[in-house]
Symmetry: C2
Subunit: 278 residues, 2 copies
């Protein structure tokens, strides 16, 4: 029987791995020496990034929107990348950053696309429709469901900071995911590294749910503050995601080794902070 | 110069047209007599539905999730359907019900996919990340941006009814869309027919934004209550969407004429309520 997402990611954490490589494969930013159609170049680039980072990465997070940019070739290109991750790494799960959520059966197409066609291990979802709406996702007990809680963008607070009975909305989302969405023990939260204080508040309230933390690197999140905020009960149940800082560490022929170095640096920095906390 | 979404839809309203046909093309529910691959059957079915309803429909709303179910063939199938709508109808805009929203440049792929590759006229978005996040969508001034406000699902209230300073969250979303998202005058709101009281509250507060109202028909929304609630200032600036009730009015060889009859019925019912209000 195949390992569940939670088993896969907990095994990575046991190995001390917390780096998630975000595959925001932007066709406009690929190294100039790559040949082929846009889809071929994106897949070749992503495969080289995966090969270079396979030892250090805990997980990979391709963003579906970048593959939508490829039009008709998008689904097959994304599937090729995910197949390659599953072949090239022994046990790094794939989180498709699709940011989906529809009502009831309307989700079925996306569920099938992400988990069956793409064979991803986890997905990201919007919380706005509530957990009743996204049961077709939640019922895939072996898959990981990361719910957007506190996003990393500058304007995240427009809704997420609204005061609901004395607490910001994002904290209600965190609490609801823990109490109502997680009935199959397959949920986690997306919390941006650009908001370490909010991250600490969430972690204090919800010490156990897996966290997916984008926003270090190009978005400017403070790594040490992030790891300190995410750490709880003697462990770091979190993936720290870097996308552009790894993928575009170099725009030249050495892009893969530069990506490896950037991922290694992130891993080393996380390990150092955890050692001081553990 | 091509007409903007707002121009297209206001012209339809001037003609008294308010029916939006939701193309929730479910490969598992297609009439048995259709031949070909799943994608071919979905496209053939949708084309026949469009041809049958072209005179009465104000707009079409294909749901992207149903096309994701087709895997590699999804994008081209959805594009074929949209091309057919633009050819077969003189001026019915196409709203891709994609329910997207990512941060900043990560939206670009979806923006390109929906508006350039698919050549849709409008899209649906989640509100949770705030308007700063989805500027790449909002800046397409000629396109329509329908923000999920009060969704039609039974569990919609989990977040949407949370009390923010004395008002439910969905009303804050409505107000924010009006004040901050709509700087290009291209925004509308998605409000489910299954919640006519909430719809009336939104319409009272925001009398002018276009409304996209799913949930009549299979989901059980009360049409008369819906139209009364959506009507304001002497007009109905709203699209009333029916999907399953039109598409699957018959499962046999007469599916297209049955769809036409169902769409005609909905049009007649809306017209009757409006006549009593106007």
């Amino acid at each position: 029987m195949q390992a569940s997402f939670l088993e896969l990611i907990e095994a990575q954490w046991t190995r001390g791995k917390h780096v998630c490589v975000g595959l925001d494969v932007d066709v406009a930013r690929l190294p100039a020496h790559l040949d082929g159609s846009p889809a071929e170049r994106c897949v070749a680039f992503a495969r080289d990034i995966v090969d270079a980072t396979a030892e250090v990465a805990a997980a990979y997070k391709p963003n579906a929107a970048f593959f939508e940019a490829l039009g008709a070739d998008g689904p097959a290109a994304l599937r090729d990348v995910i197949r390659h991750i599953h072949r090239a790494t022994e046990d790094a799960p794939v989180i498709v950053d699709a940011k989906r959520a529809d009502i009831a059966n309307s989700n079925n197409g996306s569920v099938h696309y992400v988990f069956d066609y793409l064979a991803a291990d986890a997905v990201t979802l919007h919380p706005y429709l509530g957990h009743e709406a996204v049961r077709p996702f939640l019922e895939r007990a072996d898959k990981g469901i990361f719910v957007l809680c506190r996003t990393s963008n500058p304007g995240a607070g427009e809704l997420q900071d609204l005061n609901v009975a004395g607490s910001p909305l994002f904290l209600h989302v965190a609490t609801l995911v823990k109490s109502d969405w997680n009935y199959n023990l397959n949920c986690g939260l997306v919390v941006g590294a650009t908001y370490p204080a909010e991250l600490a508040t969430i972690r204090t309230r919800i010490p156990d749910l897996p966290l997916l933390i984008p926003g270090v690197g190009a978005q400017g999140g403070d790594l040490e503050a992030t790891v300190r905020a995410a750490f709880a009960a003697g462990e770091l149940r979190a993936l720290v995601n870097a996308s552009r800082a790894v993928l575009y560490a170099s725009g030249g022929r050495d892009f893969a080794s530069a990506a490896r170095a950037a991922a290694d640096d992130l891993h080393t920095s996380i390990t150092r902070v955890v050692a001081n906390l553990g």
